[in-house]
């Protein structure tokens, strides 16, 4: 084992090479974070910001164009679009955060154990393979149609197909980390298994987990919108972005804004989370940058 001196020589990263792009790289996460903060604030303050009751129907005001009273116009039942979008943010964020937390809470311990115990690993991974073979949207649709359209059902329906991804991620990191000489050194030093897991293996999973968490969050918000759009989401009275768009479909040619505004907000929200995830990945683990995280 000898070294080639090209490796020893300091090699500039792309960021070092292009000063101008450096600012762009920093700007993207700041911008994304700012937008997310705005959306969170809008969701929390929906009650104060919304000009109308999002549920109140005004048959005389159906499908109105934007006006002073209705800044974004009204829907087919004469409800204020802006108010409905503001309240809709609550659902999206709740689903995004909820799914992420549950997925990580279940996936992390399973992945750690699978990475360390061969027998458990082979059984658990067969189950995870099977779960990953089921298209997540169809699985979610099935769960929602079986147990009714409450927000909890939707949360579960989105969470279950996401879990195997986290388990696989954590497991693969543990599998490669346990081959590291420093883990062997810890074994030689008489460290107990829980200690090795906690101290030498878990920290390795943290950065990829945070990054993957943002992707889970984005994907959950997207899936919730799709479920609602297909009529398999939370009940249609609740103003969620997907529901607003599902109702707007029939009037798309007359009033495209019914799909445009919630669609735009949804896209911007997911985009911001993804951008934040990409930047986190670059910051937390430069090695991951090359690999591209699992999707």
């Amino acid at each position: 084992m000898a070294e080639t001196d090209t490796h020893a020589a300091p090699v500039a990263g792309p960021a070092q090479r292009r000063g101008r792009n450096l600012s762009l790289r920093r700007l993207a996460p700041v911008l994304a974070g700012g937008i997310l903060l705005l959306i969170v604030a809008a969701a929390l303050l929906a009650g104060a910001l919304a000009p109308h009751d999002p549920l109140q129907m005004m048959p005389s005001q159906r499908l109105k164009p934007p006006s002073e009273a209705y800044p974004l116009g009204t829907d087919a039942f004469g409800r204020d679009l802006l108010s409905r979008i503001l309240y809709g943010a609550r659902i999206s964020l709740m689903v995004g955060v909820g799914v992420t937390v549950i997925t990580v809470a279940v996936g992390l311990p399973l992945g750690l154990l699978a990475g360390f115990f061969r027998t458990l690993d082979s059984v658990l991974m067969r189950i995870m393979d099977g779960m990953m073979a089921i298209p997540s949207l169809l699985l979610a649709v099935a769960i929602v149609s079986l147990s009714g359209a409450s927000i909890w059902t939707v949360l579960m329906a989105i969470t279950i197909p996401e879990v195997p991804r986290i388990v696989r991620l954590v497991r693969s990191i543990v599998l490669s980390a346990r081959e590291e000489p420093y883990v062997e050194a810890a074994i030689s030093l008489g460290s107990s298994l829980p200690r090795i897991l906690r101290r030498h293996l878990m920290p390795n999973t943290l950065a990829p987990l945070i990054v993957q968490g943002t992707y889970v969050c984005a994907s959950a918000i997207l899936t919730e919108a799709i479920l609602s759009f297909l009529g398999a989401g939370i009940s249609t009275e609740t103003p969620s972005w997907g529901n607003i768009m599902a109702e707007g479909r029939m009037y798309f040619q007359i009033r495209p804004s019914l799909i445009f505004w919630p669609g735009l907000l949804l896209s911007v929200c997911i985009l911001s989370i993804n951008l934040l995830g990409d930047s986190l990945r670059d910051i937390l683990d430069p090695r991951l940058k090359q690999r591209g995280a699992e999707r």
């Binding site: 084992m1 001196d5 090209t6 020589a9 090699v11 420093y182 050194a185 920290p203 390795n204």
Partner: protein
């Protein structure tokens, strides 16, 4: 000297195109005459590989940029040449072979096609003619059964064969200049010897000039006409090989040569204690790969390995890759479970103890790993790393840290190292930390698995001196695994030579290295490059007289099998 084939003048290479950023080559100049071998030597970071890549125009794009100077190949400035011209020159006028023949060949393409590509890119021969030429080139590099090799993938060939393929690829168009970047470093000594001979043979035949990059003074002594010593991006001195080895003018060259360990074994040390701290009896390890719907494949990694290590002594296990020397180390550490035989630590057999029953015995044997960049957890401070072991055995945290501090002093690191992280240290310093971590357990035996192989010679010499010093002060026994006979000669009292999982020769270092009884040991010694030179004394080595050391200090002499 007639007009040189290659002439590098005041070459400056910097990081990125920005003139303000640091430079890695600072005004390098060298010449190579027709048919000559110039060895470029230096430690890591000296810029020797960057120089070769700059000549080929292969510097990583955007990351390293040639800022000024000239690179003249037969008078033509390569730095001024455009891409198309450079492409035309590569392989036809200048060619290159690399360190790792496994990774330097495309794993998914048959090797014959990879050589054929050179002809396709640079000649207008018909497919039949090209095939004929490739096959004839394969014969010239002495590969057997060339038609089969032509259709083989790299993974189906041995390391030596792969390097022969690389050489065939490089020399098929008979270029004027061959650049060889550490081409034998990844190979075993016996293979290295054959490859060096092959390069020399083809060089004679084709009249090629060779720029040979190496860190190994032994190789330099074997093949160089002239030597160019590099250090931190500059040329220290350039001279004939004899002048460099006998009378170096510069301090740096003297220091570099002085650090090269001698093949002459150390003077025998008296046996201080008769206590055997570690003993293996007929130790064996068979790897069985069970495959679904297929018979289990068995690989014998170690077989009937018996040795004994006394308190305060150093036993070296030497052998080429695949000899099973690391398997033995890992069995002794119980990082893998042996499949046969016994491992006695202070008389107690630990070979089949359960995880929990093993716990009290673990601390008696500690290990120093090969790669200091991977054996320390990058997220844990040096102090925590060293204190981890003792705290596992109930030492209070404060006491463990106090011990860590004193150990850092013993291994020659400043006390403030305790709160820092591994990435803040160099490779040699990290290996010192790893040694301190092992010593924190107050072990009876320290297993060092190629512990100095990844280090530059000067650092290597310091770490070897440290190990010696520690042994003196603490009376610890060393089980030293290495492929490097020079290193073994400098540190070992006894040596066991392993081949194909078995110990073929076992005895006092002075005997094994000077009067080997087994053909394989002789072959190894014979292949050691520069075996006739004593670099540190700047003169050829005297033919060593068989040592008069008594055989009695070998606990269990055993002949070959």
């Amino acid at each position: 000297m007639s007009a040189p084939i290659l002439s590098v003048r005041d070459l400056v290479v910097g990081i990125g195109p920005d003139a303000a950023s640091p430079i890695v080559l600072d005004g390098v100049s060298l010449d190579i005459a027709a048919g000559e071998t110039l060895c470029l030597v230096g430690e890591s970071g000296s810029g020797k590989s960057v120089t070769s890549l700059a000549v080929m125009g292969l510097l990583p794009r955007g990351a390293l940029v040639a800022r000024s100077g000239r690179v003249l190949l037969e008078g033509e400035d390569l730095l001024a040449a455009d891409r198309r011209r450079l492409r035309a020159l590569r392989a036809s006028r200048m060619a290159m072979i690399f360190q790792e023949p496994m990774t330097a060949l495309n794993p998914v393409m048959p090797v014959g096609r990879q050589i054929d590509e050179v002809l396709r890119a640079h000649t207008s021969l018909t497919p039949a003619e090209r095939r004929r030429r490739v096959l004839s080139m394969l014969e010239q590099v002495h590969l057997p059964d060339v038609a089969r090799v032509f259709a083989s993938y790299p993974h189906q060939l041995s390391g030596g064969q792969r390097q022969r393929i690389m050489i065939a690829m490089a020399l098929i168009l008979e270029p004027k200049l061959l650049i060889a970047d550490e081409p034998t470093t990844a190979l075993d000594v016996t293979t290295q010897k054959e490859i060096l001979r092959l390069v020399h043979e083809l060089q004679e035949k084709q009249g090629t000039s060779v720029l040979f990059i190496t860190h190994d003074m032994g190789v330099v002594a074997e093949i160089a006409d002239r030597v160019c010593v590099m250090h931190q991006g500059t040329v220290v001195e350039t001279d004939t090989v004899d002048a460099i080895l006998r009378a170096p003018r510069k301090d740096y060259t003297r220091r570099l040569l002085s650090a090269v360990p001698s093949l002459t074994p150390r003077a025998p040390r008296p046996v201080a204690s008769a206590e055997i701290v570690l003993e293996t009896v007929e130790l064996g390890k068979v790897y069985a790969r069970r495959r679904f719907l297929r018979r289990a494949e068995e690989t014998v990694a170690a077989e009937a390995v018996s040795f004994a290590l006394r308190r305060g002594r150093t036993l070296g296990i030497v052998g080429e890759s695949g000899s099973g020397k690391s398997t033995v180390a890992r069995c002794v550490m119980r990082l893998v479970d042996p499949t046969a035989g016994a491992i006695r630590v202070k008389g107690r057999d630990i070979s089949s103890l359960s995880r929990s029953a093993l716990q009290p015995h673990r601390k008696r044997i500690q290990m120093v790993f090969q790669d200091p960049y991977r054996s320390l957890n990058p997220r844990v401070t040096v102090g925590e790393s060293i204190a981890e072991g003792p705290t596992n055995y109930g030492v209070p945290r404060d006491a463990a840290f106090a011990r860590a501090r004193s150990l850092l002093e013993i291994v020659g690191l400043p006390p403030d190292a305790i709160t820092r992280y591994p990435h803040q240290f160099s490779g040699g310093q990290r290996q010192r930390i790893a040694i301190a971590r092992a010593l924190a357990m107050e072990p009876d035996v320290l297993v060092a698995d190629e512990a100095v192989s990844a280090l530059d010679v000067s650092v290597q010499a310091q770490v070897l001196a440290l190990l010696d010093d520690i042994q003196e002060r603490l009376g610890v026994s060393l089980l030293f695994i290495t492929h490097d006979l020079r290193v073994a000669a400098q540190i070992c009292d006894d040596i066991a030579v392993m081949q194909k999982g078995r110990i073929v020769e076992y005895g006092a270092a002075s005997e094994v290295l000077t009067a080997p009884r087994q053909a394989y040991t002789r072959q190894l010694l014979d292949a050691a490059p520069g075996r006739d030179w004593d670099f540190a004394r700047f003169m050829p080595r005297e033919p060593a007289a068989p040592a008069a050391a008594p055989v009695a200090d070998v606990a269990k002499p055993s002949g070959g099998h």
